[in-house]
């Protein structure tokens, strides 16, 4: 994102766009309005208008066939007593913390390891972000093979003498959610690593030189030079992770569909199955509104930062 790569691309000498006022073309040819309006219309049709409808539908009871029936906040009241909703919210928060936290930490750790320019570094980096190009569905199936009762994981446990830990990983309510997080992490860490690698590259080496001269240890250099310099990247990574976590769907759907007994249910999968399998479109919309509200703060802070950048 532009916010992130700014150090490499932005030319500081460039006056901001507003500084050009009066120097640019006076009148705006109609062609330019078409240039903006056509993409705007495409987005309005498939995003803005549906979004407004989505908010309205959350206030209705609707089976998709007869007309939606306005019920006010009933759907949201129903959620208060909905066990599955409560556990799906809990899982979503857990997902945010575990999937989000670990991918940020491990992404940073691998970036620190692989930032040095050494022979073979390209191969190591490529290996780590190769999974980023896989669909989450393919990723999920690969890991399902690992988790099978006769799969690699159990065989591995057996061979190191931990046979008692053998498990039907995805079929057990206690392990299903964690078993789903691992493939998601496997895919996400390489992505976060790429973001941090770019951030680390943008740090002025003179800062490290200066710190070294002052006698800072490796840890002190990391703590007082690297971390503060990565502030911008951290903000991006956190936004990406929260938005990604709330959107997470494919990997859970392909592995467990939220089961067994909703033990790996996230808000996103619960929303999908409520809407398209139980055909409770009003309640499904209300669940989507909850997802939106959870993402709202991140979206706003993201837009505010983008707003500052855009000027």
């Amino acid at each position: 994102m532009a916010v992130l790569t700014a150090p490499q691309r932005k030319t500081p000498a460039q006056p901001p766009l507003s500084g050009r006022r009066g120097r640019g073309p006076r009148r705006n040819p109609p062609l330019l309005f078409a240039f903006v309006l056509v993409p705007m219309l495409a987005e309005a049709m498939w995003v803005f208008w549906p979004a407004l409808q989505g908010f309205y539908l959350s206030l209705t009871r609707w089976d998709g066939v007869t007309d939606p029936q306005f019920v006010g906040l009933d759907n949201f009241r129903e959620m208060a007593g909905d066990e599955v909703f409560r556990s799906a919210t809990g899982h979503t928060v857990l997902w945010l913390v575990l999937f989000g936290g670990l991918s940020a930490l491990l992404g940073l750790a691998t970036a620190l390891l692989l930032q040095q320019e050494r022979r073979g570094i390209g191969f190591y980096r490529a290996a780590l972000f190769m999974p980023v190009v896989f669909s989450l569905v393919a990723t999920a199936l690969v890991w399902q093979a690992i988790y099978q009762p006769d799969g690699v994981l159990n065989q591995l446990l057996e061979s190191v003498g931990l046979g008692s830990l053998r498990h039907a990983w995805l079929a057990d309510q206690d392990t299903a959610l964690y078993a789903v997080i691992v493939p998601a992490l496997w895919r996400q860490i390489g992505y976060v690593m790429v973001l941090y690698l770019a951030g680390l590259k943008g740090i002025d080496p003179a800062l490290y030189e200066a710190a070294k001269v002052d006698g800072a240890s490796a840890w002190q250099r990391f703590r007082h030079v690297t971390l503060p310099q990565l502030r911008g990247v951290n903000a991006v990574v956190v936004s990406v992770i929260i938005i990604d976590s709330l959107r997470s769907f494919d990997v859970v759907w392909a592995l467990t569909r939220g089961g067994p007994y909703h033990s790996s249910e996230l808000l996103s999968t619960y929303m999908y199955s409520t809407a398209f399998q139980s055909l409770r479109l009003g309640y499904g919309s209300a669940l989507a509104v909850v997802i939106f509200l959870l993402a709202f703060g991140v979206i706003c802070s993201y837009l505010i930062r983008a707003f500052r950048e855009a000027d």
Partner: protein
């Protein structure tokens, strides 16, 4: 440092430690990929007798044939390409146009429009699923690939506009002024000057958007219904249901589904990584 005799030794030790840690990390990461590749060439009997985790004792290419023909992966791959390729071309063309107009001219409300478009892309797709499926029904394109193309373009465009805006804004204004003096209109400036200069960003976004659209599951199962229309991701889930515990076929299917994006990645690795950095919002 270099004068003391222990220095090269210590340096060699850190190098070894680095390659050991980075190497085992890479091995850990590549292991699942290797596993699925190996499994895709084993026979069902071998897996049934020895287990998924055992050393392979057979080799067969039949799994690919089975996934490709009986499993419907051929059609699914075609569907995916029918959706992805035009989507990438159209969405980037539209985004480049909007980004050009917004970044190079003093249009009224340009910043508001830019952020509105980006904001649309940041919305959780869940809020759109039901209305979008109803909208495509209303328009009579439900269960048609064109509906998937439409929603992919509409949902993605805001983000690409934002990225390209940032890129085009950094192009010096003098280049454009020279063209204006020579009598070039906005179309010529766009087509002959800005677009060629934006090529690196466009290449990065093409590689990235191709993998995103190709790998999508959620929009596909929202606007499509029939198996024959499904893209490769949804077909892969179908394959899993159809060939329960026939891991050799499922693995072959996964390899087929991952092959196009891996090919794009290996061919355009540099662009792809650049795109990930540009595209930090997804």
């Amino acid at each position: 440092m270099a004068l003391t005799p222990t220095a090269p030794l210590r340096k060699r030790a850190t190098t070894a430690a680095f390659h050991l840690s980075a190497g085992s990390l890479a091995a850990l990461w590549l292991f699942p990929i290797a596993l699925v590749l190996v499994t895709s060439f084993r026979t069902f009997d071998d897996i049934a007798a020895n287990g998924l985790g055992s050393w392979p004792r057979s080799f067969s290419l039949d799994n690919y044939g089975q996934a490709w023909v009986d499993g419907g992966q051929q059609q699914a791959l075609i569907n995916s390409l029918i959706v992805s390729v035009p989507c990438v071309l159209v969405v980037l063309a539209l985004a480049a146009m909007a980004a050009f107009a917004l970044s190079r001219y003093e249009l009224p409300f340009r910043r508001t429009m830019l952020l509105l478009m980006l904001g649309g892309n940041l919305l959780p797709p869940q809020i759109l699923l039901i209305p979008v499926s109803k909208l495509s029904e209303m328009m009579g394109i439900y269960d048609k690939l064109i509906a998937l193309i439409g929603v992919q373009i509409g949902f993605g465009v805001g983000f690409y506009v934002f990225v390209l805006y940032g890129f085009m804004r950094a192009i010096p204004v003098e280049i454009q002024q020279a063209a204006v003096v020579d009598g070039a209109g906005p179309w010529q400036i766009f087509w002959r000057i800005i677009l060629p200069l934006a090529k690196p960003a466009l290449a990065a976004l093409s590689a990235l958007s191709f993998t995103w659209i190709f790998n999508d599951l959620l929009w596909a199962i929202t606007v499509l219904r029939s198996d024959s229309k499904m893209p490769i991701t949804a077909a892969l889930i179908g394959l899993q249901g159809q060939y329960v515990s026939m891991w050799n076929v499922i693995a072959a299917g996964s390899v087929i589904a991952a092959a196009p994006t891996v090919a794009v990645f290996l061919r355009f690795q540099r662009h792809f990584v650049a795109g990930l950095n540009l595209g930090a919002v997804k």
